[in-house]
Amino acid sequence: MKSSTKEIVVLGITLGLVSMIAALGLSITYSVTKPVIAMQAKKALENAQKEIFPDALEFVRQEDMIGKTNGSTIIKDFYIANSSENTRIGYLVSATTPGYGGIIYFIIGVTMDGRLKSVKVSEHTETPGLGANITSKGFLGQFVNKKLSDEFVVKKDVKAITAATISSKAITKGIKALIDLSQNSEAGDTK
């Protein structure tokens, strides 16, 4: 039994050593690339925010809003956009809602006067060529400056994309759910 236990120990150590060397290499690259990745993510976020609220100076993150759900739409991030005199000019909500081919990640910007500032779809797996048109200006454009109190129902006040009704309905329902969520939290808020 003695020789075979020695053999097992040798096996253990070789595998351990190889994985440690691999870990060393990995962790060094990781620590080098970690700041760069963080910076990229921050830059991407800022671009998105700037795009929707160009005149906002500062974005305050509302931790408590993250994770709230309405139906199958889940809030991923929630920012209050403040302009120079620290007055709130609107808020920015990024969320996910199930679409035709999978989860759709989208961001909406809402101004204080109760209008949709803009809608942007950041990631989706809708069928290319059909559902994927929800990212087109033509479709999302119709949401700009829409009053929050509208019904947001396809074929009524929202024009669907031909041959992609399920995707159009999904995104519209997602926006509506998000508005209701932020509305009642808005009401419950300090204002």
């Binding site: 120990v9 351990g16 440690m20």
Partner: protein
């Protein structure tokens, strides 16, 4: 700097532990669950060439090894076996075999009808394979026993040891050739033959006609003049349907027949 060191430290420690854990588990289970496989099968399989070529009719070398151990297959079933490993296998099995027919076998093309030697009937370029050339009777050389040269043997060789040379005749690289015999069976004119590797003399012609007919077809064809048979001191050569056959046991490769042959058909082979 410290956060980087901590991540490096932590990840190396964690992976080290996981590695050791898995290594020990693998080692332990490979011992405990070791199947009492017949060790002879593993060692024989390693001695076999391992090319899984299937020429022996079994699905790969391990399968052949199993059958050899169970006695269902003779050792020489594997044509590419060199004598050294054949003897080792037989010693594993503890049986005696005569190692004579285990010298390395190599393919040889018994035809020198290259482009400049053999008279060309008509240059036929786009016949894809020798087999097709034979069926359609579309071959370039007048000699009906010669190598057609469209490369069936080269295509079939798994070790690409046989390639068509610049003169239109296949060239065998005896280092790569394992004597598996696939080219011998595919050649429609049976010009290729397996011979034991080593310095020897051989008549490089496959034409069974006599005299004038051969002369018209090829500058280096055997016209069956029987000079080699008369001249050979050991009378190791006998004629079989107009082609000299040399008995390797009697022949001491003196080379008299090579000089005697007027058509230069008998040549030295594997001099190196």
């Amino acid at each position: 700097m410290s956060p980087i060191i901590t991540t490096v430290l932590w990840s190396s420690v964690v992976l080290l532990i996981i590695g050791i854990l898995f290594g020990v588990m693998l080692g332990y289970f490979s011992k405990v669950l070791a199947v009492q496989e017949d060790p002879r099968i593993v060692s024989i399989a390693e001695l076999l060439p391992g090319a899984n070529c299937g020429a022996c009719g079994f699905t790969g070398c391990t399968n052949l090894a199993e059958n050899i151990v169970q006695g269902k297959a003779p050792i020489d079933r594997c044509k590419q076996l060199d004598s050294k490993s054949a003897i080792e296998i037989s010693s594993i099995l503890g049986i005696e075999i005569d190692s004579s027919n285990f010298t390395k076998k190599v393919a040889i093309v018994r035809c020198q009808g290259s482009v400049d030697n053999a008279t060309q009937q008509v240059i036929v370029k786009d016949v894809p394979t020798c087999k097709l050339a034979v069926t359609l009777k579309m071959y370039a050389k007048t000699c009906l026993h010669s190598c057609i040269g469209y490369g069936d043997c080269a295509n079939v060789c798994p070790y690409n040891a046989i390639t068509i040379g610049s003169k239109g005749l296949p060239v065998v690289d005896s280092m790569l050739c394992t004597g598996c015999g696939l080219c011998v069976s595919t050649c429609p004119r049976k010009v290729i033959e397996l011979i034991p590797y080593g310095k020897q003399v051989l008549a490089l012609c496959n034409n069974q006609n006599k005299g004038k007919e051969v002369k018209d077809a090829c500058k280096v064809g055997c016209i069956a003049c029987m000079l080699c048979v008369k001249k050979c001191p050991k009378n190791a050569i006998r004629m079989e349907n107009n082609l000299p056959v040399i008995d390797r046991k009697l022949c001491d490769v003196c080379g008299i027949c090579v000089e005697a042959c007027p058509m230069k058909t008998i040549r030295f082979i594997h001099e190196a």
